[in-house]
Symmetry: C2
Subunit: 437 residues, 2 copies
């Protein structure tokens, strides 16, 4: 049978990894796909820069449009990233009738709806397993492996840099800023680490997973996003003492009122498998109504781990080349005409329990004032931990775990507590999830 | 579009779960599959016995051949189990041009090669996600999600009963026999628990996973199988003390000499995620050369968890109904003409490190005798733990962890140590795996 010709756009970290994996494992891959896959052409805007792969057998170009317009190429692999030229190239590739494989989470999260519509129209597939959680086949698991389930919620550690920082803070008692500097030196975090630590990268991935889980359009702009830069060493220790760990989670949950879509630091019980995912590793828990909780774990980034997902997508497309487009696996798991507009809940309507850290002056009656305010807002206290006054400061940290309450009530309670004369600092509030049943 | 008609053979635990899931989630499933799936007929040999599902809308029969021979039915779902009539029915269904979905691990592990060959010939698919690790989409993950990888090894907790017993022994200090009796009372273990605790059930599943991972024919008869019934409470405690946990693992590994295929109790480091999979839950670690280690966790048994996998397979087949058979995902991940006959290594050729528990008489020179024998066989000791003499017995337990050595050398060393006058009991030997990189 004739080989399938692919063109790769971008020979950076993931592009080089893809070339390396396709080359090294070509025999296994052909045996699985039933056809040879040929890297027919590759484009990189700077061909003089050394690459992380052997390009001697590849027809190179510095103009990606050469590939998009090459009638020999059936699959375009977009590994440029970003929403600028990458978007333009993907649209043109689809218009030219080519299937697209991409690792571009921002592109899918922000422009996926229009891209999928166009692909549908043209009878081609856009595959994006590599856009979420690197090498973990989480898109495939949700879209196909759990196809019999009504997915109730999912929660994932989907940013390796953030998890590395929180792991180091807990295991070695280090400060946020200190670990962040190391992560940057190690190359985990970008020079501008905002995307990682403020949760934007995780929000891109969560947006994509939520659409696949619930069959809703991509709505990145409605994702609540809160980073980990305010987490203090004392919060990490307090959580530990109470039997929890702090993880930066992306959480999507279907409730009767709508879909929750939120990225924020979260206390989860220590005994959960997800609480024991450490370092740069990623993991996602998916709860289906039939299967119960399932978990998927692996490397969420890196050259070959991400390439693993890219190649799996290529093999999938090769296997389905002769399939009637109507019968291919739908981009967002559900047939597009069936996607319905379930509302995304604003954060103020989300119900969770909370960890509160309140620094109070060491005066009588403070605790009574706080508990009265909470009680008035219908907030029940689950556990309380009153620490010794901090040295040199005369401040008493009060740690509370609350029962579940709607966030707007908690906002009101916090505003009232912060207005107390005896509470000079702002309150640290971290949401909690049991991740149970 | 016309609905796809399926026929279900067997309305026991999994059959009822499948009816329940298909009925409850019919809207979601249709949205995913792009077509309605209709339970057209179901067969059960005892129609008078109450079922775990509503059968009022289903055309029932007590003769499974009615379904196999019904020209309206495109997909036969075999949930009878065993290798007797189930095999006959599956063969006839394939001959009649029907696709088959089965949860039958014994059937696939023992007769899969001939069934797949027949299916290939007839242009139909046999899907068997539910045969391994219940609702965890592990077959799909390996066969499709990791298609770019050369899989190096996999290791799994793939029998919930065994894992429940080992978890209870560790967490509650209970004895094997005691927990087994409870597992039987709870319905986890069969009245004859041999299949679970002696590792035969796990060996069926491991055989299937190994074929998919490495592209080799199914060779259940060559799988080494050792149960957990000899694990004593003291072994569980010793392992803990040394930083390990004992898990009943199915392990498949590709080495230059051949494929290792083995089910046995195994010490693994406590910090591994797999070591923290407790109770009846299942999990499988798969190590690919590109992706690194990945882990898949979930319920390995149960009515709806297993049904989740059955329904996913049905949806997959529905999605691919129009695909040219040549381009469907191959049964064992690799195109059948490419399956090559890599030898399965006999256990004596397998290299692992070991935990040894030796009960010795409390006499001088015993330890020196033992270490001399080990040294003569080229076995290096990694750690040693000499316990206080046991009460009433005057016996001293010596616990050793060794470095990696080929099993036949360990067999020889153990025979020599057991021949010592100072070692009256047989030695407990448990293999160890680091499960690292």
């Amino acid at each position: 049978m004739q080989s399938v010709k692919i063109g790769i756009l971008g020979l950076g970290t993931v592009g080089s990894g893809t070339v390396n994996v396709l080359t090294r494992n070509s025999r296994e891959i052909s045996r699985r796909a039933g056809r040879d896959i040929e890297i027919y052409r590759a484009a990189d805007r700077d061909l003089d820069k050394p690459k992380g792969c052997d390009t001697s057998a590849i027809n190179l170009t510095d103009d990606a449009f050469d590939i998009i317009n090459d009638p020999e190429i059936q699959i375009v692999v977009e590994l440029i990233g970003g929403t600028g030229v990458a978007k333009e190239l993907v649209i043109k590739a689809i218009e030219n009738g080519k299937h697209v494989v991409t690792a571009n989470k921002a592109l899918i999260a922000i422009h996926g709806n229009e891209l999928f519509e166009l692909a549908q129209e043209k009878g081609v597939t856009i595959s994006f397993e590599a856009a979420v959680a690197g090498g973990i086949p989480i898109i495939k698991a949700m879209r196909e492996g759990l196809a019999g389930n009504r997915i109730e919620w999912l929660a994932g550690i989907i940013n390796g840099t953030g998890n590395f920082i929180l792991t180091e803070m807990r295991e070695k008692g280090r400060d946020f800023a200190d670990v962040l500097a190391e992560a940057q030196a190690l190359g985990y975090a970008e020079a501008d680490p905002t995307f990682d630590i403020e949760g934007i990268d995780a929000a891109h991935k969560l947006t994509i997973m939520a659409s696949i889980a619930f069959g809703i359009p991509l709505q990145f702009d409605k994702c609540y996003t809160e980073g980990i830069s305010r987490i203090a060493q004392e919060d990490v220790l307090n959580a530990n003492e109470l039997g929890y760990r702090i993880k930066h989670l992306g959480i999507a949950k279907k409730t009767t009122a709508g879909v929750e879509l939120r990225v924020h630091p979260t206390l989860i019980p220590q005994r959960r498998l997800l609480a024991n995912v450490n370092g740069v590793m990623n993991a996602v828990v998916v709860k289906g109504d039939a299967v119960g909780p399932t978990l998927y774990y692996g490397a969420g980034a890196g050259s070959e781990a991400t390439a693993s997902a890219v190649v799996a997508d290529i093999v999938d497309i090769v296997r389905a080349l002769t399939t009637d487009p109507e019968n291919r696996v739908p981009h967002l798991a559900f047939q597009p005409d069936a996607l319905k507009d379930t509302p995304i809940l604003p954060m103020s309507e989300v119900v969770t329990s909370y960890y509160l850290r309140i620094h109070t002056l060491d005066k009588p009656g403070v605790l009574a004032d706080i508990t009265r305010i909470l009680s008035n807002e219908g907030i029940n206290i689950e556990a309380i931990l009153q620490k010794q006054p901090e040295e040199h400061e005369g401040m008493v940290p009060i740690i509370m775990l609350t029962q579940a309450v709607v966030e707007k009530n908690m906002d009101q309670a916090i505003a009232q507590i912060e207005a107390l004369d005896t509470v000079p600092d702002s309150i640290m509030r971290i949401r909690m999830e049991s991740l149970g049943g």
